[in-house]
Structures are given as C-alpha cells and as structure tokens.
C-alpha cells in the first residue's frame, strides 16, 4: 500500500477545511499538509450557502449583542465560552476574507455592507448578493493555490482513521479514479467533512452531505454531541428542496397562509410589522426553529395551500421590486423560475420547511479539539457548541472560518509534542481498513440493496424525526435504524470495478448516514423535553433541571449507541425566555 507521510491531514475541502489549510500553511511554511476530499474543493457544499456571514462591524452593534442573539437563538444550549470567543473572532475572519478578495457587497462609501437576518437584533450579516457561501468557498479555494505546501488529494474517499497508542495518527483513503487505498500517516488529523442532511429525503443538502466525517470520528470512539438537533430551514422549494435564503425575509419578504394572513403573528412572533419594513428579531425575522414550527401548526389547522408539490405556505417578495431583487436576490429569482416556473417579481412562491443543517456533530472544545488526541474537527461536522439547540442563520459560514483556523492552530500545537509513530502498527491498521473494502467486493452472501436500505432510512427519518416528535415515533425510528444497520451488513455491491466506482461510494456513504442516524434517533428519544429544533409533542416544555446538558452518543459497534450528558458552559447568560415579539411587548 502506498504511504503518504504528512504533518497534518485535513479531511474535507469546503470552507472549514480550506480555512484550516491556509492557517497551517501561513503559520508554518515547512508543514506538509494533505487536503483530502471526495470532491474537488469548489464542489463542496459551502457553495450553496446564500444569505451571508455574521460579524459585528457597525457602530450600533456589539459583541454582547451578537452573543445574546446566538445564545438565546440556541435556546441556551450553546457553550457560552465558545460563543464569546466566536463573536470576537468573527469580524476578524470576515475582514481576512475581504483581504483575500471576497466580493462582499458594499455601502456607497466603499465599506462592507450588512443585511438583516433571522434572530439577530442588529444588522450584522455580511453578504455577497445571495451567493455568499459560493464566494467564500471560491475565495478560500483560490487563496490556497498560492501555497505550495498544501498538497491536494482531490476525489479521495476517506475510509478509516488510524488510531494507535490512544492518538489519531492518520487515515486511509481511496483514490477514486484508481480504487487504490492509500495510507496517510499524519501527526494530526482535522475533520471538516460537513453535515449529514442526506439522511432525510427532503433536504437542501447536496448529494455529498452524507456525514462521512462525523462517522469517521464516531467509529473511532469520539462521541457525537447533540445530534438530535436538526435544523429545518423555513423556506425551501417544495419540489427540489432547494434553499431560498433567509435574506428573502431579511430584505422584506413575508410568509402568508392560504388566507393571505401573515401567520407568524399567531405564534409568538407578532404583532404584524408593516409590509416592506422588516423589523429585526420578530415576525419573518424570527429564528428558523420557530418559523418552521409555525408552518407545522398551520398545516394542522388546514391553513396551508395545496399545491401539486404538497402542502405549502407562500413567500411573497413582490413588493421588493425587480431592482432590489436583481441586486440582492438574483439566485433566488433564478432558482424559482428554473425549478418551479415562478418569477418572484410577479408572483408569491410556494415554499415549505426543509432539512438544512445539523447543530450536532463531532464533540469538540473551543480549540476545535476532540476527545481523541491528534484529532480535530471544524464546520458543520463538528459540534463546538456554538449553535446550541438552534443555529441562527449566517453564523455557520463564520463558524467554518473561526474554528477552521482554531483547528489548524491546535493541530500545530499538538504535532510539536508527538513522539515518532509505531509505523508497523499503523500499517497493520491500514491493512485492516483495506480489508474492510475488499470484503465488500468479495461478499457473496449479500441480500440487501443499497438504494432499498437508503429509502427505508429516509422514510423513517421523515416520518418520525421531523419538526415535531413523539415517544412512539422516536421508538419506531430507533428500532428501524437499528434494524437497517444490521441489514447493512448484508448489502450488495453491484459494481465491482476499480475506477470511479460510485456504487461503492454510495454504499460507504450509506454506512456513514446510518451511523449518524443511529446517534440522532437515540439522542432524540433520550431527550424528554422541547428545546430549539428538538420539539416533543409529549414533553412540550424546556426542562433546564434535567436537560440543560449536551447529549453525547457513543458508538457501540452494531449495538445501540449509549448516551450520556455533558454540562453546558454558562458564563454570563442564565437560561431565560426567548422573546421574538419585537418591541411591542
């Protein structure tokens, strides 16, 4: 087996992985850096983020206000030391991106412009039209091209971490164009592999978002934290699930039910604000969890609009006018016309909530370190406990930057103290990883189809682990996912070729997704309260007495994961009431 020796290996080349790579290369030009990704960097799903990135920059804003919005938005499940660090680093990172060429929208005087966003008390969302994630990703990718020490391994599929003597010392990955498994020896590994939204059938997430990075760490014994918190974005296209950014509402778009009523006022986010004059932190600028939950209630009341794509509510942006729409929401207009045949300039567009983001992930601390020495994680795959029970829109793009950089700096501190590896032991572990793949090729007793198992998984998640959850539904989901994980052991690999074998990758991705779904469902069943994005019809109150804690799911092979809890870090904001009633108290 070919061995690649590096100092740091990064798994995933989206926003967090690229930011980490740049920080490594800039801090120590002598480091050998491997940037490993199953797709070319610019295909990473960071490209699909639209609205923008939050950082305090205007005179009427403050770190404390960004902190309060984030902690309250997260229903007090965020670690407050983490949030304090984050809000201070955010403007620095966004300015850094500006220095690297990111085409942020500007004020007339040439300073960076900001826009309003859900759950934020002040305007602090930096944006590049409604293609902010795309520009961030390409700016970062292009910036990496000036560093010779960043060696890219594009289209390499990560298989297993190499853990020896209690430390993470590398990984195995398959070169997708040849099918060859390679061994990467690294003194530190950073996972930046993105979320797992594809475990649900209706999702804004691209096909690549299958939780591989989460599963890599989880199977190596690192707990997944707060996996039960799944964000539904309130405004997705009802057929494809494509995202229509929160900036639609930030710019003044309104949500209407079948009677034309701005129904959010009936769910603690009123009273109604004047059309075209969005008011921060209320009505359409409420947080995503509350706005998505309001849709569910409207559905129960029969207030939704029946369309050929199912039950919807209407997002009306007509009053913004063509000029504002073209300048600030061009992609939204383009998407709605192309995929739905609706021009938002002349018509309201039907939308419904759609799975968008995992608040949970690989448990990390504020330095982006996991519980496994030598392993770091950042971005959506990680749970540094910034987002708590509900992420505020425009915090995640900044999270990639702040904690991507943290992960790099922590990795450097770690690798300087490491003894030489036991190369024979690493080689043996790499061989075992290769054998796991070979077994898939030689398996003769397979009975289960990959697409069949995947469909059952998605159906179960959709039916039982949605916006509102119940004990019975979650029990069914836990049992079903557990059953699917057993049946997965008999999955059939139809394609036995070596070159770009997408059947194989889908089989491996399904394995990742089932592991994530297992942690998610078990965590959801165990959390007998309603907080943020985790809403239980049978436990409707937040229960700070018992659940002001992070769930930690531990991998137990084919058995159900075990769950224990970690206290939330509270520094200055005791749990309070989330108030989105604007100034009209």
């Amino acid at each position: 087996m070919e061995i690649v020796n590096v100092d740091v290996a990064i798994v995933g080349a989206g926003g967090a992985g690229l930011r980490a790579a740049i920080a490594l290369a800039q801090t120590d030009p002598m480091l050998r850096i491997a940037l490993i990704s199953k797709v070319y960097p610019m295909r990473s799903h960071t490209c699909a983020a639209e609205g923008g990135a939050a950082g305090v920059i205007k005179a009427d804003d403050s770190f404390d206000m960004h902190f309060d919005d984030t902690v309250g938005g997260g229903d007090w499940l965020s670690d407050q030391d983490c949030v304090e660090y984050f809000v201070k680093e955010a403007p620095k990172e966004l300015t850094q991106l500006e220095h690297w060429g990111c085409p942020w929208n500007r004020e007339a005087d040439g300073s960076v412009a900001v826009r309003p966003f859900g759950g934020m008390k002040k305007q602090r969302t930096w944006f590049a039209a409604d293609k902010s994630g795309f520009h961030i990703l390409h700016t970062l990718f292009q910036t990496t091209l000036q560093f010779e020490s960043i060696q890219r391994f594009d289209e390499y599929f990560a298989l297993d971490l190499l853990v020896d003597e209690g430390r993470c010392q590398g990984l195995t990955a398959m070169e997708m164009r040849s099918g060859m498994v390679k061994q990467f020896n690294a003194k530190a590994v950073i996972i930046a592999g993105g979320g797992a939204g594809r475990i649900f059938p209706f999702s804004t997430n691209g096909a690549i978002k299958t939780g591989d990075g989460m599963a890599l760490a989880y199977r190596a014994g690192v707990p997944l934290k707060d996996m039960e918190f799944v964000q539904y974005h309130p405004t997705g296209l009802p057929n494809t699930g494509s995202l229509l950014t929160e900036a639609c509402r930030g710019e003044g778009g309104v949500l209407l039910n079948k009677d034309g009523r701005r129904y959010l006022q009936d769910y603690g986010m009123g009273p109604e604000t004047p059309m075209g004059k969005p008011q921060l932190k209320t009505m359409e600028l409420g947080p995503r969890d509350r706005v998505s939950q309001a849709y569910w209630h409207e559905l129960q009341k029969g207030n939704t609009v029946s369309t050929q794509w199912g039950e919807c509510v209407m997002l009306d942006m007509r009053h913004l006018g063509e000029k504002v729409i073209n300048e600030r929401l061009p992609l939204v207009r383009e998407l709605a016309i192309a995929y739905l045949g609706v021009d938002i300039v002349t018509d309201a567009v039907p939308i419904r909530p759609v799975v968008h983001y995992m608040m949970g992930g690989i448990s990390t601390n504020t330095q982006a370190a996991t519980t496994l020495p030598g392993l770091f994680a950042a971005g959506e795959c990680a749970c540094v406990s910034l987002n708590g029970a509900n992420r505020l829109g425009s915090n995640s793009l900044v999270e990639l930057l702040v904690f991507g950089k943290s992960a790099a700096l922590s990795a450097i501190a770690h690798l300087r103290t490491q003894p030489p590896p036991n190369t024979a032991a690493l080689e043996a572990r790499a061989k075992a990883s290769q054998a796991r793949i070979r077994e898939l090729f030689s398996r003769t007793d397979g009975t289960e189809s990959m697409s069949g198992l995947r469909k059952e998984m998605m159906d179960t998640m959709e039916k039982n682990v949605g916006i509102y959850r119940t004990e019975a539904g979650l029990q069914e989901a836990v049992a079903k996912i557990h059953e699917l994980r057993q049946r997965y052991q008999k999955v059939v690999l139809n394609d036995k070729s070596n070159v770009f074998n997408t059947d194989l990758f889908q089989v491996l991705e399904l394995g990742s997704m089932l592991d994530c779904a297992s942690a998610l469902t078990v965590g959801a069943l165990a959390r007998k309260e309603s907080r943020g994005a985790h809403q239980r019809l049978d436990y409707v109150q937040r229960d700070d007495q018992n659940y002001l804690r992070h769930s930690m799911a531990h991998f137990q092979g084919l058995a159900l994961p075990t769950v224990d809890y970690l206290d939330v870090v509270i520094t200055k904001s005791p749990p309070g009431v989330r108030d989105y009633s604007g100034d009209h108290k």
Binding site: C47, G101, P103, N105, S111, Q142, L145, M450, N494
Partner: protein, 248 residues
C-alpha cells in the same frame, strides 16, 4: 404531477473492460418537471447502479454535473426534460479525456486555474486591524460578473480552440485572471499578464463566443477575453510607441 417514459442514450465506458466507449439505452419514468440529472438518478437507483457520473447540489452552483446533452454542454441539473421531447443523448463533457462513463478527467483544467494566479495580490498591504479595503459598488461591479464562474468546465467543452490546441489556457482560467486584474484591491496584473497575454493565453482565442453561449451563470468569458485583448494591445502600444517606453 404528469409523468412520461423518457428514453436516454448514455455513453458508457469502463477503462478496465471496454476498448472504446459505447451507448447504452435506458427507459425510465420521469416527472415532467424533472431535469436530466433526475432521470440519471432514477436510472442509477432502479435500473443500473453501475452508471457513473458526478453531481451534488442540484441547484446549478457546485459545477459538478456538466455533460453533453444532445451534443451541447449543459449542467444536467439545469437541463429540463421538458426541453427534450425525443431520445436524450448524454455524453461526457467534450474535449476532456473520459475517466469512466460520464466522468471526465479534470486535471488539465485544475492545473490551468492555478497557473493564472487566481488570488488577490494586494496593491497595498493592510493589516486586519486596519480594517477592510474600501471598494465602491461601482468598483465591485467592474469584476463581479467575472467572479461568478462555478468552474463547471462547460466553456472548455464548447471552445473550438481548446479542442484544437489543448495548451490553450481557455475561457474560465483567463476570465478568472481578468476578474482579479479588474479588482480595485489587486496589484498583480503584471504577473498574470505573463501567463495570459501569450500565445497559449488570450491570443489563441479566435472569439467564436461559444463559451459565453453555454455559460450557465452568464459570466460572459468571451467578453472577458475581449477586454483582456484590448488591454494587452494597449500595453503593447504604450510599451513600443510612447516616448519613454514601458509605463510600468
């Protein structure tokens, strides 16, 4: 939702078994509003799990799923079945080697991107503490369109010059260089000119304009290349005809 049976002829090539590519015909039930990518996904899920192609976002922004569809370079997630009443012929992007089925080898394009130094080379150094570079909306508009490229490579598949002369840097790479050259914060034009104002660069382009016609993001690479040519010609005149020589 109306459905119909759609016929697709898809190019297949397995480098381990096939001596040359061949077409395989599939028939699959599709919803009227679907795109070609949805049809391929339906084939892969229910008919033939061995079919290989790249895709991810399904919203025309990740740039993965470029293919030739009835002979034209398209993003398959943005090629609507309603526009293709007959048999749909799907092939890998033209002008690139085939890796497998609809998957092409992208190495050449990736190398060319890097060669044009597509990153900000600051005109004046500034620390983070000094804040952002000022850039007016008008200055932003000078390069914004050229920053929209999603690297989907459709323009290379459409470019007759690239087909003839693989050394040609090509539309997307030159446009990206131009994007940074036009950025008010940037001072790296001279370095990039050495790469793009060459016979392998912009002078290879014969301004057919096919790149701009197929661009799914209206980046207008042909327009960018034309601007580069004009600016490079001006450079030449300044250098050779003005008293005092090079303005540098």
């Amino acid at each position: 939702m109306k459905e119909r049976l759609v016929q697709l002829e898809v190019m297949r090539y397995d480098p381990e078994g096939d001596t040359e590519p061949h077409f395989q015909r599939y028939e699959v039930m599709c919803k009227d509003e679907w795109v070609v990518l949805d049809a391929l996904n339906a084939i892969k899920e229910s008919l033939d799990p061995t079919l290989a192609y790249r895709w991810s976002c399904h919203m025309a922004v990740c740039g993965s799923c470029g293919m030739m569809i009835n002979g034209e370079p398209k993003l398959s997630c943005h090629a609507f079945l309603r526009d293709y009443p007959g048999v749909i012929r799907v092939e890998p992007l033209a002008n690139f080697p085939i890796e497998r089925d609809l998957v092409t080898v992208a190495d050449d394009f990736i190398d060319k991107l890097k060669r044009v130094k597509p990153y900000l080379i600051p005109k004046e150094k500034k620390t983070l503490a000094e804040g952002e570079y000022k850039q007016t909306p008008a200055q932003l508009m000078k390069y914004r369109q050229f920053s929209m490229c999603i690297n989907c490579m459709l323009c290379y598949a459409a470019c007759p010059e690239y087909a003839l002369q693989p050394k040609f840097l090509g539309p997307a790479a030159i446009t990206l260089a131009h994007r940074y050259n036009q950025d008010s914060r940037d001072g790296g034009r001279d370095e990039r000119q050495e790469v793009i104002a060459t016979n392998e660069g912009v002078w290879e382009c014969s301004f057919v304009g096919a790149c701009s016609e197929v661009c799914p993001k209206a980046v207008d690479p042909a327009g960018a290349l034309q601007q580069v040519k004009v600016a490079s010609t001006l450079d030449w005149f300044k250098e050779h005809l003005l008293p005092g020589g090079s303005p540098k």
